[in-house]
């Protein structure tokens, strides 16, 4: 077999094409469109959409406020439950949350465009008012440490600041925002929205951000517990799952999370190298995000390979369709068997087809090979428990994540947790915001009682 030179190159497209490919995937509603769409809401009793929203935003109320041309009031309704309502309006898989529950989905298969209406309201407030609309309560003198400046940490910090507590956020990266800044697909939140929103959240005051401070490296949980009245852990998942294949560390294999972070931080997308043939392993949102973005960077062939059936994918049906319409080939029922290595780098990957027998996944013995200039691992992220060292006591875990109760209290006194690092539910921005807000209220109750 002849040696295959890897086809990895930057600048595959014209600057105009990059701009088009990474522009807003769902353009915002105009005022007219928003008013027409808002009129479709039935103002349901005990609305199913509210129940389906992890942050239980009063959706019928905020839509009615749009309808009466009160978008600022509408945004306040949204933000009172979800201070990151702007980002959630952009990235929430609404098709599996509020919009799936919308009664108009049952009535005619066309739910009210709740996500876009939420964006209309929150964008209007952010554009016209600029600052977040809530006032701080009188200072309590209590101090709370928040580890991680992502959605969970920001939501917790904001709510704690509202209640008059002083908050210090320790964030491992140079910018706050967490996955909103480093993880979400670029076309879902263009124009530096993540940083605008961080500023918006912090504009309440009483929150200090310590950048470049990672738990376990620069700060220790035990010290934070001693120095603060309460600690909230919302540092996400720093580790990525491995394929457990030989040669996984060789060039040509990358983890999707790291690549997406590079993409999000790239000043010039044309300078970011991408393979001509890209294989993505995984079936979740991250897999779709890296596959679609690779395609939009100019990759010729992008194949997503998932070990089970499409119905088991973590990516919603909408995300799967987005991948398909972007030109990504999705192959299901195949698991990676071995990497093909030439001249010290990975040039392809061999898969074994799978079948489900009595609910168990088994290899059928049939194999196929996909040539690949780049292989992305997108098979999940994991908590690195070592980062929690430094505490005299060990924190309770549950399925590899931090165990919390309904109020997001961990097994350690004075320590709460939420977001992806906590064992609470789905790894969604909106779920992280809910955790942060719920934990903040619990912390506030605890501090007020003490």
């Amino acid at each position: 077999m002849a040696t295959r030179a890897p086809d990895i190159a930057a600048g595959r497209l014209s600057p105009e094409q990059y701009a088009v490919n990474f522009s807003d995937i769902h353009p915002p509603l105009s005022r007219h469109e928003a008013l027409v769409e808002a009129d479709r809401c039935y103002f349901c009793y005990d609305a199913p959409c509210v129940k389906a929203c992890p942050t239980t935003i009063d959706i019928p109320l905020f839509i009615r406020q749009i309808l009466t041309d009160n978008p600022i009031g509408s945004a306040e309704t949204i933000l009172s439950q979800n201070i990151l309502g702007g980002m959630c309006a952009r990235v929430c898989p609404t098709e599996t949350l509020c919009e799936e529950a919308c009664v108009r989905e049952a009535a005619e298969g066309k739910p009210v465009k709740i996500g876009l209406l939420q964006r209309y309201a929150t964008d209007t407030l952010m554009d016209e008012v600029g600052e977040q609309p809530f006032e701080r309560a009188a200072p309590t003198g209590k101090r709370v440490a928040v580890v991680g400046g992502g959605p969970a940490g920001l939501a917790a910090a904001h709510r704690l600041a509202m209640h008059g507590h002083d908050v210090v956020i320790y964030d491992a990266r140079q910018k706050a925002g967490g996955l909103n800044e480093y993880g979400i697909a670029a076309y879902k939140a263009p124009d530096d929205f993540a940083q605008d929103e961080v500023e918006f959240v912090l504009s309440i005051g009483g929150i200090t951000v310590e950048h470049g401070k990672a738990l376990g490296r620069d700060v220790q949980l035990g010290d934070l517990r001693g120095a603060y009245d309460a600690v909230f852990l919302g540092m996400g998942l720093a580790g990525v799952n491995a394929l457990a294949l030989e040669d996984e560390a060789l060039p040509g294999v990358a983890d999707a999370v790291g690549y997406i972070a590079d993409l999000r931080q790239a000043e010039d997308l044309g300078a970011l190298p991408v393979g001509g043939r890209v294989v993505v392993i995984g079936g979740g949102m991250t897999a779709v995000d890296v596959a679609v973005q690779s395609k939009r960077l100019g990759a010729r062939e992008v194949t997503m390979v998932y070990r089970r059936g499409a119905e088991k994918m973590g990516a919603s049906l909408y995300e799967q369709e987005l991948a398909a319409t972007s030109g990504v080939v999705i192959r299901t029922h195949a698991k990676p068997l071995r990497l093909v290595v030439e001249d010290g780098r990975v040039v392809g990957i061999v898969f074994e087809e799978t079948a489900e027998q009595d609910g168990r996944l088994v290899g059928t013995g049939a194999t196929f090979e996909l040539p690949a200039d780049m292989v992305f691992k997108a098979i999940g992220q994991i908590l690195v428990p070592a980062a929690l060292n430094g505490s005299a006591e060990t924190i309770g875990l549950d399925g590899g994540k931090i165990r919390v109760d309904a109020e997001r209290r961990t097994t350690l006194s004075g320590v709460w947790a939420g977001g992806d690092c906590a064992a609470t539910g789905e790894d969604l921005t909106v779920a992280a915001v809910a955790d942060g807000r719920i934990a903040a209220e619990s912390i506030h109750r605890a501090l007020s009682a003490g």
């Binding site: 009129d39 103002f43 349901c44 199913p48 108009r104 049952a106």
Partner: protein, 440 residues
């Protein structure tokens, strides 16, 4: 295709859809366009004395919209025609000559002195139009000058001017009534006494359509001020239907031909007016909202309806519902209906529940066995119909008559016997014996 030909007080038109006297009928240009699109007739916008009136040069209209900006109600402060009388008369004559099969009626409004009416009737008669309509309805502007609604609000004036017109003209006379009055039967009776061939109603309703809540000017705003206008469009239809029925079933005016006006937008609206006694209908707001072409929907819709009901003439529709309009005291208090929710159609919005729970009779569940489920509790349901009205899904909730058994709410048997308030035991004025509804 049913035969839609209409003969209203001897005025023939190929269908019963006329354009009302209003901006759409102010000029030959508009009227010819309307006839080309199929309108059966027009009532030419009201003529007055020269020199012509002057309109404002700012907004004349204001509107009520649904939230997706469908126009539900329109109000206007426009006056009668502001063109010289001679131009109007010449155009009327030409249009009638060119369109002999269409109805062309001319609306009139001059001061309340016999000579004015005598003079203008003579001029109008020369156009060979089909009839005149006396504008006793316009509630704004002209009424300040002692014309329009200020005549229509005084039955004696209505009778007097109608009598002059019948005296000084051979043309059929339609008297257009104002709804800005407490009992519509009074001016209708006066018109009949004066010899009117027909009445037309309703003219517009006095209204302020809205207020600019930044400048605090009433709308429409003319240099920061507003004046009441005349309200029309779909929103006024229920008021117009009631007034039509009141005249149709009144002992004194029963049989007096009626031209129905007020929010007619579709063929269905037209059938409703005719069922309540109108011989034809006049349309304005629907045309002003969508253009003249809407008449084609009206024509085909009415035709389909007549065919499906076996009606061979539009006259067979006129008055069919009049006998069913009665006073509340004669409604059957033994009639029992209960709401029923079709679970297959229900989309679980819960609006029926919250409307009933908050504002009515607590007769609809929201949860059954821990599951979101909306079902009528017959023992609480008074049959009020509110749930039907608020349900967003067609035919999902219906009112079902109880024909036998016991009403679980009252515990009374359902007998099917008619009984009304006049004999009810709770009525202090109850008559001793069962009195049936008087024959109409």
């Amino acid at each position: 295709m049913a035969n839609l030909a209409s003969n209203f007080i001897g005025i023939k038109s190929p269908n019963p859809f006329w354009l009302a006297s209003a901006p759409p009928t102010d000029k030959a240009y508009n009227v010819v366009r309307a006839f080309k699109d199929g309108w059966g007739g027009v009532v030419w916008k009201t003529l007055g004395t020269d020199p012509p009136v002057v309109n404002v040069s700012g907004p004349r209209y204001g509107a009520i919209h649904s939230n997706d900006r469908r126009l539900i109600g329109l109000n206007n402060i426009e006056l009668i025609t502001d063109r010289p009388l001679e131009i109007n008369l010449r155009e009327i004559k030409e249009v009638k000559r060119d369109w002999p099969d269409r109805a062309l009626v001319v609306s009139l409004m001059v001061p309340c002195e016999e000579q004015y009416w005598k003079d203008i009737l003579a001029k109008v008669e020369e156009t060979e139009c089909d009839g005149v309509e006396l504008n006793f309805g316009c509630p704004h502007g002209m009424s300040e000058r002692g014309m329009g609604a200020s005549v229509g609000q005084v039955p004696e004036y209505v009778e007097m001017v109608t009598r002059w017109c019948k005296q000084h003209s051979r043309m059929p006379v339609i008297v257009k009534l104002t709804p800005n009055i407490s009992d519509i039967r009074q001016p209708a009776r006066a018109a009949k006494r004066g010899g009117a061939d027909a009445v037309s109603l309703i003219n517009t309703i006095s209204s302020i359509i809205g207020v600019d809540i930044d400048t605090f000017s009433p709308l429409p705003s003319i240099d920061g001020k507003g004046s009441h206008g005349g309200y029309c469009g779909p929103a006024v239809k229920p008021i117009a239907l009631n007034m039509t029925a009141e005249i149709a079933r009144d002992a004194e005016t029963r049989g007096l031909p009626i031209s129905g006006i007020g929010g007619v937008t579709t063929w269905r609206d037209a059938v409703e007016f005719m069922a309540l006694g109108a011989g034809n209908v006049q349309v304005c707001t629907a045309a002003m909202t969508y253009g003249f072409r809407i008449v084609q929907e009206m024509i085909t819709g009415l035709s389909e309806y007549m065919d499906s009901h076996g009606f061979t003439s539009v006259d067979e529709i006129t008055g069919r519902a009049v006998g069913n309009v009665t006073d509340w005291q004669y409604l059957n208090l033994n009639y029992v209906a209960k709401a029923k929710i079709d679970q297959d159609l229900c989309i679980k919005c819960g609006r029926c529940h919250i409307a009933c729970e908050d504002t009515s009779h607590q007769a609809i569940t929201s949860m059954v066995d821990g599951i979101r489920h909306f079902e009528v509790i017959d023992a609480e349901c008074v049959g009020c119909n509110l749930c039907v009205n608020v349900c967003p899904v067609q035919d999902c909730i219906t009112m079902e008559e109880m024909v036998a058994g016991t009403d679980p709410r009252t515990g009374f048997p359902v007998t099917g016997e008619y009984a009304n308030w006049t004999t009810h035991k709770n009525n202090p004025m109850a008559k001793p014996a069962v009195v049936a509804e008087p024959a109409e």
